[in-house]
Structure formats: C-alpha cells, structure tokens
Amino acid sequence: MKRPAVLISLLLLTFAAISCSRFHNAGTGSKDARYIVISPIYNEIIWALGAEGNVVGVDLSTTYPPEVKKVQTVGYHRALSAEGILSLHPTAVIHDNNIGPPQVVQQLQQLNVQMKTFSSKNDSFDGTKALIREMGAYFHKEARAEELCNTLDSQRAASLEKVKQYADHPRVAVIHFGRASNVYMVVGKGGGGDGGGVSQMIELAGGQMAIENRGMQRMESPEIIAQANPDVVLLTDYGYDRLGGALDQIKALPGVATSNAARNNRIYRIEENVLNYFGPRSGENIAKVAAIIHQK
C-alpha cells in the first residue's frame, strides 16, 4: 500500500539506523526498578557503582564506559520524546536538569512519571564525592560508593605528589571548541557552568589559569589571549583535531601567535573528559593534566 519511493526511502533510513547499532538493543535487567538515566556523569557513576543492571535507557551523549553502548538510547538530551521514554516502561527518569524540549518535560510530569535529580553536583572533588555517596544511597550501593570515594582520594593524593616534582607553574590558556555555536572559545578562571572544572584541574595540576575572566568567552578579540600571554595553550580534543593538529593554524587563532606558548611551541591536545570533567576518574586525571602542561 505504500508508495514505492517512500518504501525505498524507509529502507534506506532503516539501513542507516541499523548500522548505528545503538538504537536497536534489547532492554537489560529484569528486576523491578527500571531507570532511564539522561546524564553522562550519572551513568558513569552508576556503572562504577555496579548499579547498571537496572538501567534500561541512556541519552545519546553518554558514551563512557564503553559498556554503556549496549543500552538503548532515548536520543539527544535536549530533543527527547515522552513516548520513546515511556515505551521502555521506566520506574524513574534520572536527569541533571539539562533536558528538553520543555513540552516533553511537562508531558512526563503530567503523566506522573517519577523524575529524579541528585542534589549534589560534580563541580569539585568534594561535590563529586557527595554525588557518588548520594547516588550510592539511592541505588543501595553505599559500600561501593565509599570505595569509589576512597579511591578518588588516594588517586588524587598520588597525583598531587607527582605534581610536586614539577618546579614550574605555567600560565595555561585553555581553548575549547563549542560545537553548537561553531566557534572557538577561551575558558576562564573559576565560575560554574561550562568549563567550571577546568580551572580547578589546572591549578591542582600545578598550573595557573592565564585568563582571569569567569566562564567561557568567544575569541573575538586577539587581546584576550595576547594580554594574558600564556606559557602553555591547551586545546580540547575536538577543537584540536578539527585543525588537524596543525600548529600554524592553531597559532592563527586570535592572539595565540604572539604568546610565549606559541614561541616555544607549547601547544598541546587534551581530552575534554580529562580536563573539563569532575567524576570518578578525576583523581588520576590530575596527573595526566600535569604531565601535559609541564611538558617542555
């Protein structure tokens, strides 16, 4: 009954979707609780706690740990569908207040779907531990939560020890590529929101943030970086790879060329989830960040 052209297009689309295997997986877990978790950090902690057995759906942006890909995805966290979520029959939808569109959130509420957010935020080490403990309590994995916190603390201590061996305290400028705005941005010191963890990690790793302003700014004016004159420039992975890692192109970004970093070719790549991230891996990450910024 369908028109041939539509049928062909349907087949093509289906083929494309099947090739992306994340969309056609069987649900996991047969216990009573069924969770849909829409937050990469929450999912990472859940897997670290060993509570993943009851997770039946995750969002598209959740990619760690690799095992998470076996779970069905409900789509991009800002373009959700109430029906899609409910088709997995969740007992609760766990999110970090970054979901949309607003109409869908309202639909979930009006259908009395249990919506859960954790009050702790992973914006610092203490915050991360509080979150791990809070989630541990929720999923009845308190013991494992404590273990994770202890591991985090000891890894952090070990990293800080390693950091002591570096004598210098380089001024670091961090450049991040905002994919939705399609523009390079410079990460400033402190502040929450986007880039909030970056300055903490840099400072723990024995560096200083070269840019004083809070939050992220577009690199419109070359003065932002030129005046700061950083010793080291870090680019997060996507932004770095986008220019093919070509130093001359990176130096062509506003204000970079005249800096110490450019002169000494101290321009490095860093994974976003190492630097702009607070979670169970942050303890070891300090050492990784330090290793990068203290390179000569």
Binding site: S9, L60, T73, S81, L111, A180, N182, R218
Partner: protein
C-alpha cells in the same frame, strides 16, 4: 461534469482515503504499538463510570492521539500554504516561508531559547509558540512594508519575492548570531528546533492549530477562483474582475497565519510546502480549488508518514522531522519530475 472534473473528484476521494489509512497507522504504531482493542479501551476510559486510564492508555490519549491529529493539521497548513504561495507568486519554486514567515518564527523561538533561560515563568509552555508566532508575523509584515514602494502591479510581486529573500537572509543571520552568543545547550536547542519536531503535541496545541488551519483553508478555497484568474497574469486577472491588491493581502495574511501558528508549535518543517503542490499539479492539473483541497490532504498524509518514520526508525529515540521530510521529499520529487515531461 467534464471528464477532467470527474477524475479530479475521484483523485481527491482517493487522497482522502489514503489520509485516513495513514492516520490509522500513525495512531497505532510508534515506540509503543497500540492494538485496536487497546485503543478502544483507552477511548472508553473517558466515558463516565469507566476505570481511570492506565499509563499506556494515557500515553495514547495525551501523547499519541493529539500528535497524530496535529500532524494532519500542520501538514495540511504547510501544503495549503505552499499552494497559496505558488499561486500568488506565479512561481513554482516558492515555499510558504518565502515571505519571511518561517525564518521569523524560527528567530522568535531562537530568541526565546537564548533569553527565556533567564526568565523562568510557569507560562513558559506557551512562551515558545507565542514567541515564534510573533516572530513570524513581524517578519512577514516587514516584508510587506518594504515591498510596498511601488503600486505598479508587476513590480509588486517581484518586489515581494526579493524583499522576502532579503528579510529571510536577515533573520537567518540573526539566528546564526543568537547561536553564536548562546551557550552550548541553548544553541543545540535552536538547532534541533529549526529541524522541527512534533513531540510537543498536546490537545491545546491541536485546538489552536485546528482553528487556524480550518479557518485558513476555508478562506483560501473561497478565493480559489480568483487565484485561478491570477495564473494568466495580474493584468488579465484585473480584467476578469479580480481586485489583485486585495487578493494579495488576503492570501498573504492567510498564509502567514496558518504557517506561523503551525511553525510555532512544531518548529521549522521545510520542503513540504514546496513539494506538495507540485505532486498534485502533476497528477491533477493546476485548478486551484482542486489544488487547495488536494494539498491539504496530501500535506497531511506526507507529514504524518514522515512523523511515523521519525518515530519508528530509531526508536525509542526520534529523528527530527525536518530530516525525514527532506530525505523522503527530495527523491520523490525528483522521481516524479523525471517520469513526466513537466512543463516548467
């Protein structure tokens, strides 16, 4: 009745039948499939004396059913809008959004995404559609204002086209700027909204879009004969008794209203308004009464099919519907174009 009229009637009946079939599929299939019994039970739960609806039944009644109806209405609006625009501009390559309506609506919503985050109000569910509708009306009015410099008949329609292009470009770059200054999540919201989605469907939305669509289509059909006359030129239409200026205003107003209101609830869904009138012209000629009714039906069908695909292909996630309409619309259009010796 001439032979041609007879076959057109039959065609419209066939289209109506297909629309009903597609509507049924849309109601039944999706991330959750509903059988006929389940649907009947869900509807029955509304009657007094019946037990409260279960979650699944509520999903059907509050999410699936209004969404299916909204698809029909928005599809009809876009289809009719396309026919009206092509008749008015006497040009087959125009879209309802050409006089700035779509880009204005998109801009209004982008503004809402960027600023609305700072303004938390409980009326925010309506703020987005209102912002979009205002944007659509403002941008269209701007186009009229700028294009009105000449009273000379022919120059006017060309002026409308050119001014529409300019205003569209203006608003698209404004949206680009908003994406630029927005934070990442907001910018992504803007992107996804400009690809269109039916996921926000509710009975309230259906009520409002129903009013604008039905009213708009009824008015449009009333002017079908005058639009026919316009096909042989503005001068000739005047000689046939058409007040061309008044017709332009009425038709453009109808177009703005039905497209802005639809876009306000679903985001920008392009390509439907361009393709639907063409398909219809290829199978039944250019008489506008046939085209308008046919476009409403065909637009409704195509959008419902597109939404069905959007919901099925990557379930439980959804594709933005704009991607589906383009992916399906383009091959169909090319296929039809190559089969018939289309006269343009």
């Amino acid at each position: 009745m001439t032979k041609k009229n007879g076959s057109r009637r039959a065609l419209l009946l066939l289209l109506a039948f297909i629309t009903v079939v597609v509507l049924t599929a849309s109601i039944r299939y999706g991330a959750i499939n509903f059988s006929t019994t389940e649907i009947t039970r869900a509807l029955a739960s509304l009657l007094p004396g019946h037990p409260e609806p279960t979650l699944d039944q509520r999903i059907f009644l509050e999410l699936r059913f209004p969404r299916a109806i909204l698809c029909l209405l928005v599809g009809a609006s876009l289809g009719v809008g396309g026919t009206l625009m092509q008749a008015l501009f006497r040009n087959p390559i125009v879209e309802p959004g050409l006089v700035g309506t779509s880009s204005g609506a998109a801009f209004g919503s982008a503004l809402f995404f960027v600023l609305g985050g700072a303004i938390h109000s409980s009326t925010s569910l309506w703020s987005l559609p209102i912002a979009a509708a205002i944007g659509g009306v403002v941008s269209t009015y701007l186009v009229f204002l700028l294009a009105r410099s000449r009273e000379d008949g022919r120059a006017s329609i060309v002026m409308l086209l050119l001014t529409g292009l300019a205003v569209n470009a203006l608003f698209m770059s404004a949206i680009g700027f908003l994406s630029y200054i927005a934070r990442d999540p907001q910018a992504r919201s803007i992107t996804f909204w400009s690809l269109g989605t039916l996921s926000g469907a509710s009975w309230n939305a259906v009520a409002i879009v129903a009013i604008s669509t039905i009213l708009g289509c009824a008015i449009a059909v009333r002017y079908a004969k005058q639009l026919n006359a316009l096909m042989i030129g503005e001068e000739e239409a005047t000689y046939l008794g058409v007040n061309v200026n008044r017709l332009k205003w009425i038709i453009l107003s109808v177009n703005v209203v039905i497209v802005a209101v639809a876009t306000a609830f679903t985001g920008v869904i392009s390509f439907v308004g361009l393709v639907v009138p063409h398909i219809l012209r290829m199978i039944g000629g250019s008489e506008n009464r046939f085209l308008l009714v046919g476009s409403a039906l065909t637009g409704a069908t195509l959008l419902t099919l597109a939404d069905l695909l959007a919901r099925l292909v990557v379930r439980p996630a959804e594709l933005p519907i704009g991607i589906v309409t383009s992916a399906v619309g383009v091959p169909v259009f090319i296929f039809l174009l190559r089969r018939r010796q289309y006269v343009f």
